[in-house]
Symmetry: C2
Subunit: 497 residues, 2 copies
């Protein structure tokens, strides 16, 4: 097999580049050069891994990148083939040379995107459409207290005389506006049992920016990172973009399988978890697993990214202690966001970091974009300090509980032949299991053609087979919108036979 020989040769020659990139480069060069022909079927990832003496994960990363860039097609199922039409921009002589790691990170496609004008930007995290049923992970903007928000903003502007303007419109603190950091420290102390001060809080433009900065700061090229599978694609993207290697680890009923992680990535430097509500499967990380994970970090001097999104919307049961609290602030970086509790376009999130990391995080924060806009931070601080935040979250919790109950009721009555939705203790969407014979990707595609958004769990999976499940978001939709969406989804499912 000349393909394998060429790759093996390359692998010996370049000790400086990550393995997956060498395989990527070798295959891309072969395809551009014509030694690997359009339409040719590639060996399986398993065979290739064995032949080259590398892990299957390495091969899959290379294949993913080549697929994202259009060199290969058909990643799973019947095998992987060289595209019949190689991507034009690589063949062109004047092609821009883009850093392959960050290119790969930015090009992971989300197959459940509704098509259209977005086609030229296949970004993982791109969502600019209005929410349609059953968008997951989206707050009820129809219930946001816009007029209260506007009044606070008007008050703030009224007080902006020259002196305050110099203070609030001039250069801000890269760590974040002090009173907002104080309010957040109080919020997590009360809600999540985290003992910290405002000095441990750093404001970011959403949790993703904090994930990305943590990866850049704490990883060296080649470092392995334990990621949930299925799991949040933003962390996979940032790990790849910073030269690290994401290691997908399965989740079970207790959340991330920590023992599997220790077996699969014994030298991992970092682990990412969404412990309050695993994204996208929805279970909580059990108390035992939490201790196991903190023990791992402590033993191995590893880092934990604790993405505690949706912990605010708990409908029943008691919340489990946060990893940051269990660990007492040494190896855990706790991440929170206002995208769900307030609104996404605000672009505010925060990290709570161990004291030993504060200076490094804040210094690096200035390099990647100085700081977050200040006037919005002042507004959010006031919203929190005056009690509006706690009251809004309480109201939304009640509203979302009603919307969930309504969705579950209608889905059971009208869609029971095709899917079964499981109630969730927390958060903004439920997981629904499809009847045998139905696949999540196929349902999502058909639903998109009818203007609906149904997220197949498999779109966030790497090595696990979860195409039997989808998520249905309820938080952003009124009972009438839910009824109407369910009827449309029924039509879709009837149409699929």
């Amino acid at each position: 097999m000349p393909l394998l020989d060429a790759l093996a040769l390359n692998l010996e020659r370049r000790p400086d580049a990550p393995l997956y990139r060498q395989i990527y480069d070798g295959l891309a060069a072969g395809i551009i050069g014509g030694s690997i022909k359009p339409g040719e079927r590639l060996p399986s990832t398993r065979d290739l891994a064995q032949a080259l003496g590398v892990s299957r994960n390495t091969i899959m990363l290379a294949f993913e990148q080549l697929t994202a860039e259009g060199y290969l097609e058909g990643l799973s199922g019947s095998g992987t083939y060289v595209s019949r039409e190689p991507p034009a921009e690589r063949v062109a002589r004047e092609a821009p040379r883009i850093n392959p790691a960050i290119r790969a990170a930015g090009s992971l496609e989300r197959p459940f995107d509704i098509g259209g004008g977005l086609a030229h930007v296949p970004a993982t995290l791109r969502y600019m459409r209005r929410p349609v049923p059953f968008r997951s992970n989206f707050p009820a903007l129809d219930a946001f207290p816009v007029q209260l928000w506007a009044k606070l903003a008007a008050d703030l502007y009224r007080r902006l005389d020259a002196d305050i303007a110099n203070h609030l419109m001039g250069e801000g603190d890269p760590q974040g506006y002090g009173p907002l950091r104080e309010a957040i420290a109080e919020h997590v102390a009360l809600g999540r049992g985290i003992a910290c001060t405002a000095a441990n809080v750093i404001i970011f433009a959403g949790a993703q920016q904090a994930v990305d900065l943590a990866c850049r700061l704490l990883l060296m090229p080649g470092d392995e990172v334990v990621c949930e599978d299925p799991g949040y694609d933003g962390v996979y993207a940032s790990v790849i973009a910073t030269g690290g290697v994401p290691v997908p680890v399965p989740v079970d009923a207790d959340g991330l399988d920590v023992s599997a992680a220790e077996r699969k990535a014994p030298g991992a430097r970092m682990a990412y978890v969404s412990p309050s509500k695993q994204f996208p499967l929805g279970m909580a990380l059990s108390l035992e697993r939490r201790h196991q994970l903190v023990d791992w970090a402590s033993r191995s001097n590893g880092w934990i990214l604790e993405d505690d999104y949706d912990s605010e919307f708990r409908y029943s049961g008691r919340p489990l202690p946060s990893l940051y609290g269990i660990d007492r602030g040494t190896r855990v970086i706790y991440l929170g966001t206002f995208s769900k509790t307030l609104f996404p376009a605000l672009r505010l999130g925060f990290a709570i970091v161990p004291t030993a990391l504060i200076e490094a995080f804040v210094s690096a924060r200035t390099v990647v974009g100085r700081y977050s806009p200040i006037l919005e931070q002042v507004l959010v601080a006031r919203f929190m300090k005056e009690g509006h935040f706690a009251s809004h979250v309480r109201k939304m919790r009640k509203l979302y509980a009603q919307r969930q109950a309504h969705l579950l009721h209608v889905v059971e009555r009208r869609l029971g032949d095709w899917l079964m939705a499981t109630p969730t203790d927390t958060g903004m969407e439920v997981v629904a299991r499809l009847a045998p014979g139905l696949g999540g990707r196929a349902v999502s595609k058909a639903a998109a053609e009818h203007g609906l958004e149904v997220m197949p769990i498999s779109s966030l999976a790497r090595e696990t087979d979860v195409d039997d499940r989808v998520t249905l978001g309820f938080s952003a939709f009124t009972p009438e919108q839910i009824d109407e969406g369910v009827e449309r989804l029924r039509t879709v499912l009837v149409g699929m036979g």
Copy 2:
């Protein structure tokens, strides 16, 4: 010299790490391990470079990082010594392992910072204090139309019914709010002769975020980047943070010395310039140099980062065509900011990128922090579309011209014995040359003790000797504040003998 032997050994062993990091690691290990003693004087950068067969620049990068982290002291002047007290956080067994590149990038100190509570965050880009005379690069917030801004905000909130809220408070376009991108495309077409559409415009949280993303996207580890010397420290930080090597190149009366750049870094992948007003020396890049630089990029397939800050505030003469315009949008990334034309805490800037780069930039933009807050983008778009932006810039241009004239007049009358300020055609500060015997760093330090900010050009210099000059900002201060500041500065200078 056992020190050199140990380093040379290390250099042969590790072909995978950048040279400056190997030198950094070798020296840090020696200091921690005790083989290099506290107080020991190091060989000069020139000798060390010769002995190890590396460039002096490489040695200086390593020294800079070691100095920033407290291992070494006294970078210039009488030589470099091992600190008598090694940094506690490195010696501690539990020290966090921070990526050395991004740590170095985030720790470049600005010696003209006014001390105090900021000591624990020695970040380059950190500025959270109110502007005091003679802060450079700072707009006149006392003249910002706060009430008009507040009225536009109130109008916007009033129109936020559920439908518009879903549109504007939900997920936004990572490339930026469409109407704002349109307004920017019109603005640069009129003002800077740039033929582009809204599709080429990408919104960032300020120009620094765009610089950082361009480095991550377009550089591979080890790539050289031509940087102005003295020059903007944010680009040095981002180049180092992404594993590239900044190459300081001197500027003369015509701006960046492009021929020197071609000699010094013949294989450079990128060049950063501030062509409208070189930061911090203030001259424009000449037309000939502009063509020379664009030719270089075209011949070598290199990239140009054109940081066109302050091009809006031109008091006399005609603006030179932008590099983006000369190049017709193939190798130039044009950067603009609203921090100067509106206000810093807004955190909005933009890049105009060649069509071939749009997709890669937007995809990567989502990974590093999704997108900028939307409601502020809506406000700025409306501010521009209704003509307020052009009118505000016009008013500020007139105001800043008056403030500059006043400063020059008072400085000549009251400070003529110590310094001579040169009028500037454009921007927000003037350069002043100190009388023989006075040094910029010393003046800055003495001024800071009297509550004044005088920026020594040498704080932004790498290899050039420019401690005979400082900048004095005029834009942010009323005539009364300027008078008062000049009197205080006179006291400082009298006190220095």
